[in-house]
Symmetry: D2
Subunit: 284 residues, 4 copies
């Protein structure tokens, strides 16, 4: 049998012997560790680990054999064959720079995922110059009145398409509290500021008024606390007094694209582990 | 007569002809413009300009001749011979990394200024390994009880020494409202966060708890609104989930040094102009 | 008459009075300076200036009136109405990330230019998922044998379409010495290294072998000296020992896009002035 | 017995089971892994690992027990108690910014090391404002004539003081071929350019002439190939056409300090492993 590539991620209360148990298990299954990262959180006394390895044993057998170790160390864990791609739903609005960027990176193989659908509150014509290949497009217009129905339709799509992660690619609508809770841990947003500065609306205008010298963008998990979910990735770029709010918007587009695509890439490689209000990101 | 180097800075309501008037005046005085920068603030409709030039005419004569132009364009302006160094007072506390850095840059000529004094709430022995040359040292211990007296002594020193700018080089005391107002526009602080995030105490601990991916430092003018004064310079550095609050403190020291020394350097070259809640910084 | 926006760029031997003459001329024509930058090169004793201004006078009249000043100061100069867009020809090969990026930025108005054509050594089908709108596409396959003819056809297109600037958007062919000379000052290339390191072929592999800690990209004018023309813009990103050459290629794509689009943007706003072996770039 | 902290570093031909063997050994010795990093070099087929752990067993016993594993996997390895500080010799010349910076970081505990001595080709008076505490100072003037003797004296100091690493903190002399070979792997230099660009003398002047948009600094191991040894750390900062060579020197000082201190910090924590012409750097 040929070898399969796997990602194993786990977290547990910290105690000695975890690395030895995990690496010995993989070795005895004939596996070869390609990359391993770990983090020992002194504050929460929790341990986090990600192992990328190749192994001739199939996923089901590996999982079954791992149960005993998982029990012994009280692991929350996940084992995934790299070839079993994550299923992603992209939500966009009129500003399409993040959408176009994600599609491009996906097309050339930089983001290994299955795009289950593209959802927008605008019709397909708005994206007439963009090739969606055979990705289903859903036009879900939203108004204050129809929001519950629109979000119900969205949840239907998510369920029907077995979506692993919803990506808000500058989707300019605020999700309802209900939907935010429903999608906790399953939805990544890009906010156009260096959070926690300038939460909420028009962050570039807020930044301009404050006379900031660097603007930023933040990719984070959505929670029911607006712009307060665990941060995955951030970046900044220099601005000056001479930059108008429009200039900040322009410079910010590059940041938003970069930050969102990096966060998504980390997610797609199982590099992001939840740690309460924060994220452990085993970056490459 | 040999030529003198000057910095001219000005701001006024924007109307055509300012650049022509200023540059013609300098030309007719036999001057040669070395560097000129301008900013036309569309929001406030104000114009800002900095000109560095050499000229065989002395400062008093240049100033006298410029009065007519200043009046015509309603200028707020300043003309300074580069050789007339700014007078700076440095305030420090136990953490001496910014103090040591400023003294080093001053010693090797990177920061052209007269250091009128070093003020600390700790005695001279705390800085036993630092050479203060012949800079006067003032030990002004501060307690909740003696704060008004201590600040009065400080204002005395500032007046007596004709201090142009007070530098809070990680001076860990919060200035009273009275002193902050007194020193508005004459006091630069370095805050150990990327403002406006994490105002107030223990910003590195706040940043760690929030799971931020970049930490920052900010040099800003002190106003009576704590950590809300016009920003002069900011910078950030990358951190990860693995960085403890102590690691952030260590990484932050480099940021604080860099940001404060850059802000001071801009100030010493008359590159910082006030624009309401923000600063115009004509960086080189 | 309503106002027109202009860019004026000039260079001349440095002597006093240029700024005064130029700004007075603009003022007397009823113009209002929006942005002005200058550079006094002590080494070459040359002066460089860029002025962006609005003015109710038409371009022809402005140019005619300026001749006297130009003569007096021995100016090499250019005056352009902002609305008279530059004409750009993009050349691409199989790697289409720069091409797609430039088209996107052009579509959303970030790069104000007329794209006269897209030239490739590959047929149109290779770009099947890209919308070229009504931009003419030229398939000019190149082999060692037909290179002179292919380049002749290219020069025909450049002449016929009155192309101002040719952009090599990761066009993987080396131009002949003849063509390079022909296009000196009229052709911008993006090289996938931090020049002058790693000139020539496979720079990411060279960088990997050398164990470099940051990789870069460089946008520069093409000259007949391969990868030696004046640099317009550069940027870098961090890499580690763990990054394979393929990882460098991936990380480099983002750099190449950013660096080329910034260089082109500077060019389209007349911010790039030639200074012998280097470029003066009046960035915003 | 209380626990001791250790760093274990190793490299070997890659084969499965190393991580399991190492982590099991540490676990069975009662140890707790704090941090572990590994690198599987596909090109050289070698494996690299660094483990930081605490353990109640003493170093000698741990080393003795590890011999069997080391033999089985053909390890080149090192185990060190964190409290056994590295012994470092600093060499400086007139430009003292790196020297001052290293001393400062050492004084406040940022660089855990024993400074065995400071060597300079200038006398002690040149550093009159610097507190050397009780670190021995060696004045070893160098001329073309006395170079062999001077280097012999240096090697004597290195031997007598059991120096682990020589730090060239902007020591402006080129080491002889003989000395370079003698110190291979035991000497870190900071070069004031982004290597491999601008090797040799006056790199800032070379960079200025080439019109570079970012300048850099590089910390690397010294080998007998001038400026060609394995790179440990690099960084860059933005410059413009307006920066003179003197400005580059000023901006470069900050880079040199940062890059050298980071490289030294990595070394002092056993984070730097040799990999032929390159370095594996397990950064934190």
């Amino acid at each position: 049998m040929t070898s399969e590539n796997y990602y194993l991620t786990l977290t547990c209360p910290n105690k000695p012997g975890i690395v030895a148990a995990v690496s010995t298990y993989i070795f005895q299954a004939g596996g070869d560790i390609e990359e391993a990262q770990q983090f020992d959180d002194k504050a929460s006394k929790r341990f986090f680990m990600r192992v990328s390895f190749s192994c001739p044993v199939d996923a089901a057998t590996l999982r079954a054999g791992f149960v005993e170790i998982a029990k012994r160390f009280e692991l929350i864990w996940n084992l995934r064959a790299v070839k079993d791609l994550k299923r992603v739903l992209i939500m966009a609005s009129k500003l399409d720079h993040c959408l176009v960027d994600l599609l491009y990176r996906w097309r050339i193989g930089e983001l290994p995922m299955i795009i289950c659908g593209i959802v927008s509150n605008h019709p397909r014509e708005v994206y007439s110059s963009i090739d969606f290949f055979d990705i289903p497009f859903y036009h879900l217009p939203v108004t204050p009145e129809n929001k519950p129905e629109q979000e119900a339709k969205l949840l239907d799509i998510i369920a029907k398409e077995k979506v692993d992660m919803v990506i808000l690619a500058r989707y300019m609508q605020i999700l309802s509290d209900h939907l935010s809770k429903e999608l906790t841990g399953r939805c990544i947003n890009v906010h156009h500021s260096f959070l926690p500065s300038f939460k909420g609306a028009k962050p570039y205008h807020q930044a301009h008024a404050r006379g900031i010298k660097l603007i930023g963008a933040t990719a984070h998990f959505v929670t029911s606390d607006l712009d307060e979910g665990p941060i995955i990735e951030q970046d900044v770029t220099r601005v000056t007094h001479g930059d108008t709010p429009d200039d900040l918007v322009r410079k910010g587009r590059d940041l938003e694209r970069t930050v969102l695509s990096r966060a998504l890439r980390y997610y797609l490689h199982d590099r992001v582990l939840n740690n309460g209000a924060t994220s452990v990101v085993f970056s490459d």
